[in-house]
């Protein structure tokens, strides 16, 4: 009833090609953005801002980066954590060593460094595919974390390889409270998400998808494989690098190389699998699912069930329930939460008269 597109005519190409062709979608999206920018910072408690919303945004950005590479361009990667590490450490070093460098410039330079590293480790993708490429990116994962601990220069000679983020100041305005950090993260993430959505709809995005679906065919119709694949690696690593910078600067504040280990890469891979491959929305849904479900379960276990069973059992139950839920979702909808959302939308369009 509410979700009807009858009567919405598209009279120009612009109207036909906009991101949200249905009016209701636009309204909901606009309301969501307004709520995120103008309502959340005022009503959410510090806990929500710092420990829930900011990390979800940061991880959504990292998942978006991986989604560009894996979901759109079809190149499986296990090096996401490492590219985030490059972003974080490069941002730190640029800000440390270049006096007076603005924060955003440092962040972008960090992202570009990650992109450069990504291109180098993406070179094998020209020869190898699938699981073998995953192994090659796994090498990136181990190499970069090793290099960051091995060479103390990267962490400014801190004895354990730990870096602690400098203060964030943009045009004299300090981003030091949770609400401000959240707003900064939100602004950067929404900007990059919009860019990703648009990139996927351009020629570049279409050639990525062509390569993903069948690279020989793509080459035959004139898509340069090397350029396309390396561009996917570059853009994806750029996103991951920015996410790494935000992870260090607006979320944790202090990071160590081991924190960017293989576990993190797998976590982000799970986000896009659960959320939905090749979709911007999927990155956000997946990040929220993977990050918040364990937290929710933990709260639940320690308040209700945890009173009845020993704490150790409660903690293990959490993991069991989490695993079962993932299996359940993958059985119900192998294409992820995005697909569930799409099915829901289809149904809503016909409701209440499905026939």
């Amino acid at each position: 009833m509410i979700y009807r597109e009858a009567g919405q005519f598209k009279a120009s190409y612009e109207e036909d090609q906009q991101i949200f062709p249905i009016k209701q979608d636009r309204i909901v999206m606009a309301a969501l953005v307004v709520a995120a920018f103008f309502v959340a910072p005022f009503v959410a408690s510090e806990y929500w801002l710092q420990a829930v919303l900011t990390p979800v945004l940061v991880f959504a950005l990292a998942a978006l980066g991986l989604n560009i590479l894996t979901g759109y361009a079809g190149q499986l990667s296990l090096g996401t954590g490492a590219f985030m590490a490059v972003g974080a450490y490069a941002t730190y070093n640029f800000l440390l060593r270049l006096d007076g460098l603005p924060f955003l410039a440092g962040l972008v330079l960090g992202g570009l460094s990650a992109a450069a590293v990504g291109v180098v480790f993406g070179l094998p993708s020209l020869r190898i595919k699938g699981f073998y490429l995953a192994m090659a990116t796994l090498a990136a994962q181990f190499f970069i974390v090793w290099a960051l601990t091995k060479f103390p220069w990267f962490s400014n000679y801190s004895s354990s390889g730990i870096i602690s983020a400098q203060r964030i100041e943009i045009l004299g305005f300090a981003f030091d409270t949770p609400a401000r950090k959240y707003l900064l993260t939100l602004a950067i993430v929404s900007l990059l998400a919009l860019a990703a959505k648009n990139l996927a709809r351009t020629n570049t995005g279409r050639s990525w998808m062509a390569v993903r679906d069948m690279d020989v065919a793509a080459e035959v119709i004139g898509i340069p494989l090397m350029k396309t694949k390396l561009l996917a690696f570059a853009v994806s690593s750029f996103y991951c690098g920015i996410a790494g910078g935000l992870y260090a600067y607006t979320y944790l504040g202090t990071v160590e190389p081991d924190g960017f280990g293989l576990d993190l890469s797998f976590k982000i891979l799970f986000m896009i699998i659960i959320g939905g491959m090749g979709s911007v929305l999927g990155a956000f849904l997946g990040a929220a699912f993977i990050l918040l479900l364990p937290v929710g379960l933990n709260v639940l276990m320690h308040t209700s069930v945890g009173v009845l069973v020993p704490a150790t059992l409660a903690s293990n139950l959490e993991l069991i329930v989490f695993g079962v839920l993932i299996v359940f979702f993958l059985i119900v909808e192998p294409h992820g939460l995005t697909r569930l959302w799409q099915i829901g939308k289809e149904k809503l369009r016909l409701w209440p008269f499905p026939h």
Binding site: V43, S159, G259, H302, E318
Partner: protein
Amino acid sequence: MKLKKAWLTAMAVATVWGAAGSAAQAAEQYIGLPSYRVGSYAAGGTGVFGGWIDYMKLINERDGGVNGVKLVWQECETEYNNARGVECYERLKQHGEQQNVLFAPVSTGITFAVFERVAQDKIPLLSIGIGRSDTADGRVFPWVFPMIATYWSQASAIVGYLGQREGGMDKLKGKKIAVLYLDFAPGKEPFPVLDRLAQKWGFTTEKIAVAMPGNEQQAQWLQIRQMRPDYVILLTYGVSNPTALKTAARTGFPADRIVGWWWAGAEEDVVPAGEAAKGFVAGAFDPAGTDFPVIQDIQKYVYAKGQGDMQDPKRVGSVYYNRGVGHGIIYVEALRLAQEKFGKGKPVTGEQMRWALENLKLDEKRLEAIGAKGLMPTLALSCADHEGSGRVRFQQWDGEKWVPVSDWIEPDRELVRSLVEESAAAYAKEKGITPRDCSKEQ
């Protein structure tokens, strides 16, 4: 901002209302415990937090709390994961009307991740036997307490112990010592101290890395066999400990010439190695054993009533468990001191807790009164020194249990302290912090 206030009040009302059901109106002292009971380090997490919780239960059960203030706590599962740890830190920060008064993640990674937040939130950070060694300089890090001993003090104590075994520090001259370390952040933390001591006493060290997680060490031990060192210092954790001992036995290196740090010195580290571990020596700031009166009391007041936190009651008195009891003792003693200054029988705040930790003194007499003499070294903290002791004891595995083989060994204070101050000053400079003037503190 009005909206936010209204929302906060609503939340506060809701939580207080929710908590009111379970909590009586009597005075309570809240603490948030970021425990880890699952994953690769669960043995450590369940032991330490189990011991800590049992000690608080003992205080509630036997003494009716601290001056009548009941101890209450809330757990949060960190999985030894930094991001989860930060989430827990934020979640545990507020509980009803009370703020968290002490945060002790028992994880170097989480300690690093929150150690700048604690100053803003005014919650003391306790990192016993972990974390950054230079945080011992309380002038630059007022909110961080790397109590009992830092990695640097420990490294110095290990060398001191070797000197004792040789019959004098000057006998170390010309000795060859291999340092086998796990390639993770804390594994390299002791290096600056070892290097300086090697220079000072004239021994040579050879550092050999083991890649994480360290379950394959054949190459490293072959290298050690070729080197023929007099001693091996073992800086490994978790699964790499039994592997090291087993491989050492296979390559014919005697276990009693291997000295481990305290992360290699729990029952869980040696039992899987079986016979190969016999004779292995490791550092400890919390020796194992159930003979301490405080452990006996826990058995009597908590476990006899079936309220113990350990699922396997046999682990009571193990190294990790006693480490947890040590955490509990420090927490409760600091509470006592804070109450004495700021009002007996009333819950304290994070700021008052920080003052108490900084002025905490646990001498032999007090430790004996608690029933923990020998369970932990004596402590005396000050504004400048947030470590308080630095002493480490060594114990040897006889195949069944840990047997103490040394008294508390003092680190080379002068050398360690100068390194701490140097490193803390560099940090202060990088961050633009003006160190506190300790003569003005009361």
